[in-house]
């Protein structure tokens, strides 16, 4: 039932994910953070099988940190995306694959450009201007087709995100009450009260 959205704009990427931790038909927690900060300019929204998601996100986080310690500079978003995709593709072909879907947002400090990558548990990787996972994607993608503007300033990007969240709240029977929103831009990753 996880819902996550991501939008790029002028010099930033917004990641948003619901904060519900569910077990069977029960909500057990309403302030779960499903967006992992991987490095100063890289964050990842994860969804999928509970347990797999946290395990895989921590595995990625520590490997990206290890690369940064070993090599003095962090992996660039495109390279990090490729590495994560490879990890998922290898996992898919193992005895017990991770069932995790991801939205990876990053800001490339070399080229000063924001990047957003859409990934699923099958190891599909595409760079997208906006993306979504879960039931929310059925509503959000058509909205974003119409309202997304790659040159929009942050306020407009957040307004479009608000539209997506409102639409899901209006139409989905199992709507999520709360979202965590993080922005990645030239200053790094920061959380925004939404």
């Amino acid at each position: 039932m996880d819902v996550s959205f991501a939008i790029t704009g002028k010099g930033y990427v917004i990641l948003a994910a619901d904060t519900t931790a569910a077990h069977s038909i029960l909500k057990v927690k309403l302030d779960e953070d499903k967006i992992k900060e991987l490095s100063p300019h890289l964050a990842m929204a994860y969804s999928g099988e509970p347990g797999d998601t946290v395990q895989f996100a921590e595995y990625v986080e520590r490997n990206i940190r290890l690369y940064q310690i070993r090599n003095l500079y962090p992996l660039r978003p495109a390279s990090a995306a490729s590495w994560i995709r490879r990890s998922l593709a290898d996992s898919l072909r193992s005895r017990k694959p991770y069932s995790v879907n991801l939205l990876l947002g990053g800001y490339d400090t070399n080229t000063h450009t924001p990047h957003l990558y859409w990934m699923d548990y099958l190891g599909t990787l595409t760079e997208v201007p906006f993306g979504a996972h879960g039931y929310g994607s059925y509503f959000a993608l058509s909205l974003l087709d119409r309202y997304h503007d790659p040159e929009a300033p942050l306020e407009e990007g957040l307004a479009v995100l608000r539209r997506c969240i409102d639409e899901v709240a209006k139409r989905l029977i199992v709507a999520q009450p709360k979202y965590k929103v993080k922005v990645i831009d030239k200053d790094g990753v920061r959380e925004i009260e939404f």
Binding site: N71, Y73, L75, A78, S82, W83, N110
Partner: protein
């Protein structure tokens, strides 16, 4: 008993030295000179070929693969060229290792390997031979001329002990002391690629034994950015191109030697 500590690569002498490593470095100082100069918009590498003679079949070098089919300058990856000085057979093995390491990085991260990382990969290998017993270290120093988005153009040097360092201009092989003091005098921080080519050829002509430079003794390569794509573009000169360049710089042979030219 003076040689007690010579034969083992991994045993310290009482003065705290590793003789085999020092001998390997000595071997390199007899090899052909390799010169590298970093410019603001590119890098230049030049190398002196030692194995020459008119009976040597150079047809392979004349056609020239993209990876260079010379003796001392090799394409290690699309963004890095390497110049080697030392035992050629050891160098071939290291070049092969470097190419594999670069492709492994491409496979994992879908990006060209950062230049310093490639130097580190080779140095990790070289360092191993100063520590594990029964083996001889690589008798090779390398210059790496490369580009990556982190630090743009870079020039690194690595030696048989596994040390590496970054340079604006440096030289390895025979007469490297002379070459380096010349470079120190003439190098300017905002040097462009054309001036760097000129500087490299002038220093090379002074450090090499022969009076006139020619493609049979000289290898030459540049790394620049392709103006259209902004991607690094390595150019390892073919013998005919080396001769043409030397003519242009006024350092080539005179016309009566024209029949010796490979073009």
């Amino acid at each position: 008993m003076a040689r007690r500590y010579d034969s083992r690569t991994t045993i310290f002498s009482p003065e705290g030295r590793l003789y085999q490593i020092e001998y390997a470095m000595e071997a390199i100082s007899h090899a052909g000179t390799v010169l590298g100069v970093l410019a603001k918009d590119g890098i230049v590498l030049a190398a002196e070929k030692k194995v020459t003679g008119k009976l040597l079949d150079l047809s392979g070098a004349r056609e020239g693969g993209y990876g260079g089919s010379g003796e001392k300058i090799f394409l290690l990856n699309s963004n890095v060229i390497g110049g080697v000085a030392g035992i050629t057979a050891d160098a071939n093995s290291l070049v092969n290792y470097a190419r594999s390491a670069a492709q492994r990085h491409l496979f994992l991260y879908n990006e060209d390997i950062p230049v310093e990382l490639l130097a580190q990969r080779l140095c990790d290998l070289k360092q191993g031979y100063t520590q594990y017993g029964g083996l001889r270290p690589f008798g090779v120093s390398l210059l790496y001329a490369g580009y990556d988005p982190h630090y743009q153009f870079q020039l690194y040097h690595s030696d048989p002990s596994g040390n590496y360092s970054g340079w604006k201009a440096t030289s390895i092989g025979a007469n490297n002391g002379t070459a380096q003091s010349l470079l120190k005098q003439e190098y300017k921080d905002d040097i462009g690629i054309d001036d760097a080519i000129d500087l490299v050829l002038r220093v090379m002509s002074k450090t090499m034994d022969s009076t006139t430079l020619g493609s049979e003794k000289l290898e030459f390569a540049t790394l620049t950015l392709d103006p259209a794509t902004q991607k690094p573009k390595a150019k390892i000169y073919r013998p005919a191109e080396v001769d043409a360049l030397l003519q242009k710089q006024g350092l080539g042979k005179k016309d009566e030697d024209a029949e010796m030219k490979t073009s």
